[in-house]
Amino acid sequence: MKKTNIALASKRTAVWRSLLLQYGGLLLALLLLMVAFSLKTDHFLSLTTLRTISNQIPYAVLLAVGMTCVMIVGGIDLSVGSVMFVAAALAGKLVLGGQPLWLACAVILLTGLVYGAVNALFITRLRVIPFIVTLAMLSILRGLAYTFTDAAVQNAHNIEAFRAIGIGFIAQLPVVGRVPWPVVITAVIFAVFAVILTRTTLGRYIYAVGGNPRAAALSGVRVYGVKTLAFVITAVLAALSAFILIARMNSGQNNAGFGFELQVIGAVLLGGASLAGGQGTLVGTLLAVLLLGTLNNGIILLGINSHWQVAVNGFAILIAVFLDARRRRALGQD
């Protein structure tokens, strides 16, 4: 037989080239935006702006990490915003009622777990499509939460216990200065999931199930288990991001998490995931979140009507879908 000798094929350069092909566009767009904004405004690249962004980014990243997992597995989760809201309301209520912070934290993570499991149950066992299940969940959760919090919690500000986390910093680091806790937590979680997705059997199975569930099942993959896990991960991360959000805002907010699901889905799509499943990476997702974050911030700094922020997300989804379609066309897959 012919010798392909594929293992030796110029490994390093090939890796870099494919990385550049994959993320080059996003990276370039991000850099261009930053340069453009810093030319237009005097203080875009100031430390304050970076702080502002790094304040806003963490929960978006956490949500996006979960959403990336769910979308790779071929699903979608429209209920993350509501999960956030419920978690935030619940935490506020508990802490106000005099419960310790750790208990509140444990309770809301558990809520996330249960929601994820319920979503997964409908999707795997009852075979309802994810879009419908999580759309229903979106309304149900939000409605329930409104009812049982009866607006009391949301107006309680300055809960002392949250402050430590919300605006606390970990010790002084060289160069970057003080790093906020939310950033640290988010970075750790991002890294953990990046490793899971690329280096572990679980990650591989997530991609395989999303790419072709039947083939995965016939190869011995626990398809239901993997799907369930993906939905649970997403809900738990949504709950966790709620925790960070209320900690920063220092209040349980009435509209916490409202409309987040679409922002996050937009970012994940822009980052290279596909509604068909089996595709997407956390690096792509992160770049897309940063891109949209920068864009939103720039809009504010430039003094443009902030309603444009809402529209920007819609554009992001359209662009992502357009790029995906064009790539498919070029490869003759239609």
């Binding site: 037989m1 094929a9 572990t200 059997t201 591989r204 790419g211 039947r214 011995g220 089996g278 897959q333």
Partner: protein, 515 residues
């Protein structure tokens, strides 16, 4: 040779490059009206790529293309159709929910004076087109209810409704029964008689000798030769394809039959009727049957991928649970399904990830994948099976059909240490002659190691070539059993034939057309 005839299509110096692959390199090609021109070549040689350029799916990177002597440049399949060129792909692009007639005239329905769709004209014109081809298919039937062969005919009728002068067929017979192949060839003969040019891709040499006038052989993206079929021998064709002489297509060692390994008793469900048989360790058992006889279903039911209503499956003394592929795998089974796209390939994933999917545990500590070990194992099989891919990270969707199939075969070979029984359904579908021999050799080697092999095929020569024992199925039940020595083409055909003439009610081979 009739050099004076103006070719319907002429291509000169065609070049097509994908990242890391030169798929076509300076290829010349032409087809004349009324001619069947066959394309032959190993997996990944560039046949489908050439066809997609003809069809306007890909744009060429170099060279020129002339239709009826005029320069053309197709930007989309619509452009090709405009020049009356139509491709019939293996994955047919018909709309399942629409009727036969609606599909045939899709995109160009006859209209009444008031501008509404003229349904009676639609129907009668469809019937006329099909009759021209010598076919009787009800124009009102939804296409989704037709068999693959009939759907193919609808595609051809659709091509004719657009006055196609060139019809391209990419491996059209890989899912057809012998009778259906006869019908297809009769239709091709009629098309020829009307002056339609045909490009025909196949790995089956006998088909090329039956219908083709000329053949072009490709190797590694280059054209090796274009020749009148009558001036060639099969041996020569193979030598051109693989670049050397092929010795032995069916390497078969003396079988060392061990104790019973797989015991199947009273299996029914999914159309099977009370199937019982035994496979011994070290034995290759072939299951032969015509399309629709249930041979592939049998494999699925044993494995748990299709519904089992009754009966038992015992592997090496352990009962295998029904409808639970994971249990079958855990007890030592593997299944290579016949439907590559639906049940096998994970299209967005890499060649490596596809290959190691069923054996990932072997390369992982707890859950951590040892990348180096995985890569080495995958690279070994890429070399052994001669899988053509620019890298192990290449998404498998970009591999040629035959190379995808080899990758799926490797998926189970990688599990060989825990595998006791391997069920192979049409494992050589779409695979070139040289690689077939390699796969037969691997099957033989695995049997030598004491593995049991259950080998389903609708192709008689390979069943006869590699099986120690052959079971013939008919209508979901086993109708005969032969040892290797007893088996012959005639006996298999007789045992496989249904009492009624094999469901040919709607698909009548035209008489008078010579194939």
């Amino acid at each position: 040779m009739s050099e004076s005839i103006q070719p319907m299509l002429e291509m000169r110096g065609i070049r097509k490059v994908f990242p890391g692959v030169i798929a076509l390199d300076d290829v010349d090609f032409d087809v004349r009206p009324g001619e069947v021109h066959a394309l032959l070549g190993e997996n990944g040689a560039g046949k489908s790529t050439l066809i997609k350029i003809i069809a306007g799916v890909y744009r060429r990177d170099g060279g020129s293309m002339l239709v009826d002597g005029q320069d053309v440049d197709f930007r989309s399949p619509a452009d090709a159709l405009e020049q009356r060129i139509k491709v019939v792909y293996q994955e047919l692009d018909l709309v399942d929910g629409l009727s036969v007639a609606e599909n045939v005239f899709l995109g160009g329905y006859p209209k009444t004076a008031r501008g509404f769709v003229d349904f009676s004209a639609l129907k009668s014109r469809t019937r006329a087109l099909l009759a021209d081809l010598g076919l009787e298919i009800d124009p009102d039937l939804p296409v989704g209810e037709l068999r693959v062969a009939e759907q193919q005919m609808v595609e051809i009728a659709r091509a004719l409704s657009r006055q196609a002068q060139l019809i391209v067929m990419d491996e059209p017979t890989s899912a057809l029964s012998p009778a259906e192949v006869d019908t297809l060839f009769a239709v091709i003969a009629r098309l020829k008689a009307r002056g339609v040019a045909i490009v025909y891709v196949s790995h089956k040499l006998d088909e090329i000798y039956r219908i083709a006038d000329r053949v072009t052989v490709f190797r590694d993206g280059k054209r090796v030769v274009t020749e009148e079929v009558a001036n060639t021998t099969p041996r020569q064709l193979v030598a051109w394809m693989v670049g050397r002489d092929l010795q032995d297509l069916f390497p078969k060692s003396e079988a060392h039959i061990g104790p019973p390994l797989l015991v199947v008793e009273g299996l029914s469900g999914s159309g099977l009727r009370d199937v019982s048989f035994t496979v011994h360790a070290g034995e290759v058992v072939g299951i032969f049957g015509l399309m629709g006889a249930g041979i592939n279903t049998l494999g699925r039911v044993i494995y748990g991928a299709a519904r089992r209503d009754a009966g038992t499956v015992t592997l090496d003394g352990a009962r295998v649970r029904p409808n639970a592929p994971r249990d079958a795998i855990a007890k030592g089974m593997g299944l290579l399904t016949e439907s590559r796209k639906d049940d096998g390939l994970v299209l967005p994933l890499s060649v490596r990830a596809n290959m190691t999917l069923a054996a990932l545990g072997r390369f992982a500590d707890l859950t951590w994948i040892r990348g180096g070990a995985e890569t080495r194992a995958a690279a070994e099989y890429v070399d052994r099976l001669g899988i053509k891919t620019p890298s192990l990270r290449q998404p498998i969707r970009y591999l040629s059909g035959g190379n995808q199939q080899k990758t799926l075969m490797a998926r189970w070979l990688l599990r060989r240490d825990s595998l006791k029984l391997l069920i192979l359904a049409e494992p050589t579908r779409g695979i070139d002659v040289g690689s077939k021999a390699e796969i037969y050799r691997l099957i033989d080697a695995m049997a030598q190691r004491g593995m049991g092999i259950l080998f389903m095929s609708t192709e008689m020569p390979e069943i006869l070539g590699i099986a120690d024992r052959i079971l013939v199925m008919r209508e979901g039940a086993i109708s005969a059993e032969f040892t290797r020595a007893e088996a012959s083409q005639e006996r298999l055909v007789a045992a496989a034939a249904t009492t009624e003439p094999e469901g040919e009610a709607t698909l009548v081979a035209p008489t008078g057309a010579s194939a």
